[in-house]
Amino acid sequence: MTGVDDNPLVEFRDVSYSVPSLSSPIISDLDLKVEQGEILVLLGESGCGKTTTLRLINRLLTPTSGRVMVEGKPTTEWDPIRLRRRIGYVIQDAGLFPHFTVERNIGLVPSLEGWEITRVKERVTELLSLVGLDADKFAQRFPRELSGGQRQRVGVARALAADPPLLLLDEPFGALDPLRRASLQREFGELTRRLHKSAIFVTHDLREALRLGSRIALMHAGRLALVETPENFLNSNEEHARAYLETLQLHDDEEGFTGGNR
């Protein structure tokens, strides 16, 4: 991203985040590095703090203590607008603008960045076909005229639109059928590798984590339980990791899935 290559892209330094209404912190003592070109998967059960962690990166939240560094600079020292334009964010339930067409939703950030109209249009068409939507059919629709899964795909396209170096994806494929989901996971993996993108990808689906992650960070109750490559994760003896692996075992018995051999 910048010339300062020895800095990790994102770094959590002893970060805690709490709100006055809750006695225990939502995030406690988080230490985590995300390197350039890496896809880090945040895995964990519902309510463990995954979304909160993402929101700390693009400064929708600021840490109560500790620092979140992006490209070596604390988020609090970034101009929030510049910081956010460098980070594509796929919100958990798409968060599309209901009064904009699909085309305007996807083209919004490029337009804000001052791209020419024709270039924006080309980009929208390109991105729509990337997420498997026919531009002729969908570009002029409004979000309420899309299915849940189609909305999610538009959300992904929107996050990719201005070609940001870092992507934050909060369960982007949650509402998709298994077939579409598998093919999008495959495309997403190829895409990030090819474009040398970095991404933090939230899921609570272990198989998705194993398929996409270059490393998997397992969270539990606001703390980091484990950060491992997929291979090491499969062999881990850590208790929360074991609990996840057992669910996999169960599925494998049922479906004859030979997990881990990506």
């Binding site: 929708l60 607008i81 956010r84 964010y89 968060g95 603008f97 209901p98 409004f142």
Partner: protein, 522 residues
């Protein structure tokens, strides 16, 4: 006269009133939009201001409109008599729904959508213009619609401060018993206007609602036509307003030298019209601010918005100067003259020759059956009777409370408080059995009503006089000359006759006055 002939004869006047009304509504609503929406936006950004500002706007709405008008008249710059005061009041009423809906609309934008906008790196300004306002637009427009309908309604009362509009017909119709044509000619266009405002803004609102945003709707030609029509109406209204404003400023160049006021009933209008015509004959320019409601004529005179209006000594003595009622006419007159000079720098003309006192009226049939002559005769029957009184009589010191005590009167139920002119109809149609009318009311005989004699001399004398500012007299010496002619010039019978010509024979007041002046040879 059928409504249709009435319309044909008064078409021009009615169009003028409709135009005035529309102007009041459009101007006030536009000003309220220009102030209200930015205020609403500010309140979404500054939470600490939200409750205080909404609170104030709320209180504004609860002030009765006539009270608000009365409060505004003496104020410099925004006050006075005429359209400006009315617009200020209308704007104050229209603000609340607009501010409130702007706040509700913006705060109601889906949290996820707002979060997405922030996360995409939009600035606060971009979020406001591209996300919040478009999504809140239909809610904001609902506020504008409510404000506009409120304005159409309240603007009917604006005629009480001389702002014109359809209220002129409605109030005239209410005073002019049995003239449903006037009431209809005022109320129908006002109701239509409210419906049209409601409907057209409703369409606009739908256009901006998110539900309406579908592929098909976007392309619909009908939609474009609707928008074009609304735009045309707005542009047309704005143009008319601009024209009206221009002609108003032009007429200000040859500004009226004397501003005459009157109370909001026929007799007062006639008395003011007499002075107006006598001045005009002598080459003066006169501005008529007639039919001012409630205490407005007094307030306007003291504030220097009018130079003169007709008053009654008893009213001045008790209702304005708050003296306890007495019944010596000379003493009342002298006291009023002295106190007005001291307190208000206002001169009281010599009496015009007739009295307009409260007339306690019953139905003629009843009076003959029970052989009623005096009020005391009626006391024993009153327990079975219902009474209906105008707001004025119910509220003033020399009105109902003192009157009922003086005679020991008790009615079957608490007297109905209603519009004075409606009490005559109520009495004639057996809805009530006793009312307090005016002794110069032209229709007393025509409706077979009988006036009971005030045998205990409770009511103070109500001699007709003119009140005028001393500085106006100094500025326009001709006024004194004209008023000198009118001393002791009008008898009670003459006044009843003039009232009857206007109220019952439906002749215009200026025409009636012209004929009278000619007869008198002034």
């Amino acid at each position: 006269m059928t409504f249709w002939t009435f319309l044909r004869q008064n078409w021009n006047e009615m169009l003028t009133l409709v135009h005035q009304h529309l102007n009041l509504v459009l101007i006030s609503t536009s000003i309220a939009v220009v102030i209200g929406i930015p205020t609403g936006i500010l309140l979404t950004r500054k939470q600490a201001l939200r409750n205080p500002v909404l609170g104030i706007a709320n209180v504004m709405q609860t002030i009765p409109s006539l009270a608000l008008f009365g409060f505004l008249i003496p104020l410099p710059f925004i006050g006075g008599i005429g359209a400006r005061t009315a617009i200020v009041a209308l704007v104050l009423y229209a603000l609340l729904p607009i501010i409130r809906n702007t706040v509700t609309g913006i705060l109601g934008v889906d949290r996820n959508v707002r979060e997405a906008a922030v996360a995409m790196g939009m600035t606060d300004r971009q979020i406001l213009w591209q996300v919040e306002l478009p999504l809140a637009m239909s809610v904001i427009l609902t506020g504008v619609r409510v404000a506009m309908v409120i304005c159409v309604g309240v603007a009917t009362i604006a005629s009480a401060v001389g702002a014109g509009g359809l209220g002129v017909y409605i109030f005239r119709g209410l005073r002019d018993v049995g003239n449903t044509n006037l009431l209809l000619a005022g109320a129908l266009p006002a109701a239509l206007m409210a419906l049209m405002a409601d409907f057209s803004l409703g369409l606009l609102e739908q256009h901006f609602s998110v539900e309406a945003k579908t592929e098909k709707k976007r392309a619909s030609i009908l939609n474009k036509i609707v928008l074009a029509v609304i735009a045309l109406v707005l542009v047309g209204g704005a143009y008319g307003t601009w024209r009206a404003a221009r002609s108003r400023t032009q007429s200000l160049a040859g500004r009226a030298r004397v501003v005459l006021g009157s109370k909001d009933f026929t007799e007062s209008v006639l008395l003011a019209e007499i002075v107006a015509q006598l001045l005009e004959v002598r080459g003066l320019t006169v501005e008529r601010q007639f039919e001012l409601g409630g205490n407005l004529p007094h307030d306007a005179l003291v504030a220097g918005r009018i130079d003169l209006y007709p008053e009654y000594t008893g009213t001045a003595y008790t209702a304005i100067l708050h003296n306890p009622p007495i019944n010596d006419p000379r003493a009342v007159y002298e006291q009023v003259k002295r106190e007005y000079a001291e307190k208000f720098n206002v001169e009281v003309s010599p009496p015009l020759g007739f009295e307009n006192t409260f007339a306690i009226l019953v139905r003629g049939t009843e009076a003959r059956r029970l052989k009623l002559k005096t009020i005391s005769d009626a006391v024993s029957h009153a327990r079975r009777w219902r009474a209906g009184f105008g707001q004025d009589f119910m509220s003033r010191a020399d009105g109902y409370s003192g009157f009922s005590k003086a005679y020991g009167l008790k009615f079957a139920e608490q007297p109905r408080e209603m519009d004075l002119s409606l009490t005559y109809i109520a009495l004639a149609s057996n809805k009530v059995d006793l009312i307090a009318g005016n002794s110069t009311e032209g229709r007393i005989a025509a409706m077979d009503l009988v006036q009971l004699e005030d045998d205990r001399h409770y009511f103070p004398p109500y001699e007709a006089v003119y009140l005028m500012r001393k500085d106006s007299l100094a500025r326009v010496p001709l006024l004194r000359e004209v008023l000198a002619k009118l001393v002791d010039a009008i008898t009670t019978e003459e006044m009843r006759g003039l009232n009857y010509e206007v109220d019952s024979n439906k002749r215009g007041s200026s025409e009636v006055v012209r004929a009278w002046i000619k007869r008198k040879g002034f």
